[in-house]
Subunit: 429 residues, 2 copies
């Protein structure tokens, strides 16, 4: 998707240092979260870089942004160990020495005293910053952050620890106060997303593709993953109306029930589901087999979900299905656990045993084992039932490996709950 609608926004490059990233132990989620925050605050992120804890690589990565961005944000590399090189490298590249921040040193000492632990002397290195930098005191850990001034081609540079709780603390406390005033021409871009579920990506494409280049003020992107699709419209400060018009045109071409949320924010499917159930005053009970608690887990990721989740049982084994849901052995023997009959018996069992308004069950084969020619890996029955006696069960064939089948199943089930609550049509496959 395109992004060149930034115009003259201040340009940011993000640098993460740490061999644990280049060795693939963690994805660089700091860069992701910082990007979201910066976009909201009217900056344009040009690039992410992650480099190993090696002096030459870090210095090269920093030099490579000189002259092509207005702000560099670096996380990591300012801890107490010999691998923490960023303090010295920034000082060198800006041509200054290091200075000790007495207040920071006192805070580090206090932190160890409070915890009743002896302080290895090496920790005091964290109280030193480049001589021309503004210190950013760390109330969430021990590494002092700092803000380097711009100098010739060198951009402003905000240098923070890599631990999320620490850089988040610093960002919240210092960014608006100490960094933003240097960038008066910030301008938050308008973002408007149509959040779509249970519609094939190819169908969305067919319906709206010709609009992608219909208005040069509006950049359109399409992002699809495991049954949910985002149509993202982005534009500059002057594009608010153009975006609204484009959203209207797209909406008119898509089935209304497929748009589970819309607006400037990100939404998860489970947020929309919890919201719909809450609005309608409905409580749900789930019986999960192949998703193993994934649906309940995602519902309860949403704060306040206790208002809508009556209970959930993970009935992985046939015994559990009999014991907790009252499913009879002959049914399992005749039809198997992955069958319409079993999925229906599961929701009926929930209805008998709980006070929920809606019951949902899933039973399927997530793989890697367990598939047969008649029931290959990815075969999943999802059933839903309410107190009015309405009941449906559909067979799905979800693609990919175990994790993928589970994610597709969860997404499908969550969206079915939302549509059921709202009396919207549910696709049958």
């Amino acid at each position: 998707m395109g992004s060149s609608c930034g115009g003259n926004l201040p340009r940011v490059c993000i640098l993460s240092t740490g061999s644990e990233i280049t060795q693939g132990l963690y994805a660089d989620t700091n860069a992701q979260e910082l990007s979201r925050r910066l976009m909201d605050r009217g900056f344009e992120v040009m690039s992410h870089a992650a480099v190993a804890d090696e002096r030459d690589e870090i210095a090269r990565a920093i030099r490579s942004v000189f002259g092509r961005c207005d702000l560099l944000i670096a996380t990591g590399g300012i801890g107490p160990t010999v691998d923490d090189l960023n303090r010295g490298i920034f000082a060198e590249l800006w041509g200054v020495g290091l200075r000790r921040i007495a207040r920071a040193e006192a805070m580090i000492r206090q932190r160890f005293v409070r915890r009743g632990r002896p302080m290895p002397e090496s920790n005091l290195a964290q109280a030193w910053i480049p001589a021309n930098a503004r210190p950013l005191l760390n109330f969430w850990g021990t590494a002092t952050g700092f803000l380097m001034p711009t100098m010739g081609e060198r951009p402003h540079a905000l240098v923070m620890p890599g631990v999320p709780a620490e850089w988040r603390g610093m960002f919240d406390r210092y960014f608006a106060r100490d960094v933003e005033p240097h960038f008066p021409n910030r301008s938050p871009r308008h973002v408007h997303t149509l959040h779509i579920a249970l519609l094939p990506e190819s169908e969305v494409n067919d319906r709206v593709r010709d609009l992608f280049d219909a208005d040069e003020r509006v950049q359109v992107g399409i992002l699809a993953k495991q049954g949910r699709i985002r149509l993202r419209l982005i534009g500059g400060a002057d594009a608010r109306n153009a975006i609204a018009a484009m959203a209207q045109r797209m909406r008119s071409r898509l089935p209304a029930e497929a748009i589970f949320a819309e607006g400037p924010e990100e939404f998860t499917l489970e947020e929309a589901t919890v919201h719909a159930l809450k609005t309608e005053g409905l409580r749900v009970a789930c019986a999960e087999s192949c998703t193993g608690g994934g649906i309940a887990n995602r519902l309860t990721n949403v704060a306040g979900s206790s208002a809508v989740l009556e209970e959930s049982v993970v009935t992985y084994s046939n015994e559990a299905k009999m014991q907790w849901l009252g499913i009879e052995a002959p049914l399992l023997a005749t039809h198997g656990a992955v069958s319409r009959e079993c999925s229906m018996a599961m929701v009926q069992g929930l209805m008998k045993r709980t006070n929920a308004d809606i019951a949902l069950s899933v039973t399927g084969i997530a793989g890697p084992g367990g598939g047969t020619p008649e029931k290959p890996v990815g075969s999943v029955w999802i059933a839903i039932m309410d107190r009015g006696g309405r009941c449906e069960s559909h067979l799905h064939h979800f693609p990919g490996d175990r994790a993928s089948v589970r994610a597709w199943t969860e997404n499908h089930a969550l969206e079915m709950l939302r549509r059921w609550a709202k009396h919207l049509p549910i696709p049958t496959s």
Copy 2:
């Protein structure tokens, strides 16, 4: 942690193109997974970069690796849309034109025919590659990958689609055959990790920190997250014995029960837990409140977990605790749901109602709401019980936000199950 033990390994830079990454919609998990694969195959990853879909930014990012790596791996930017710029940019930077791969074009056309869909003409752009590149036919999608030859300072460049299923397919099919022969001096590094749980990071540090620099052939890294810690030992081809000796020294300084796995591979806590339960022939039942199915979900992430998970109930509400676990209203009224008494009644309820050998319950306050001065957010009771009548419940105070408290709780509970199965001591807080 350090990584400079690569010696003369072939050096790789990874480039991901896509504004959805620089805008923070996704973390760059392609770079993470590629890094793991490359390390296993004896390459050293120097850096990751992610740039927006803009011609100048992409070209600059590619040029910036000239002369400083042996192989560039780029994902994304070779699809059918105008934002897909990589084909043209690579051709230009290598000073060549584009050529059409007839076989690739036929495959693209066939793909649409098979799906019974008309093919937008723009799709055929995906059959073109730089004139001097080797085509990598795509059997998993439509974008043809390619391998650019090294030329002067330009490294070899492997260019693949950004869709994980597509680049994984290409990597598995072509990397060993077409890419590795150019790099005879590959040498997989030896990695040995001690996987530790339920020991404070500071304690691990105190016990082994002085060994970190004890043998220059062995790089030591420590990575801590939400109750689990990795001590990673890495060395070159000649360091196998040195690593084994270092692992032995570290092991001797750590409580044996805290090391839940050890070896060259990555392990998850849930893998170790499922393995321990399986080995001991034990089946577990869980009652989850604040984790909302997260423990069951993680256990069932492990293929074959049906052998060890009897069932799990998510009893988020007091009603569910009464209904499914037989907890009595007076107990809840007197002690509250977040109490030793409730956590014990939950495991007792599971023992009565299931055939499990071990029962585990969690009840706590994940936040953001629900905290009180006596029971602040992060207060979690975890109880465990077996058929021998052994029963323990402990109060924990886990840090961070809702997601963090839930992750700490899950990690703690999974490790308690493993230790209980193995008759190992369990920490009481």
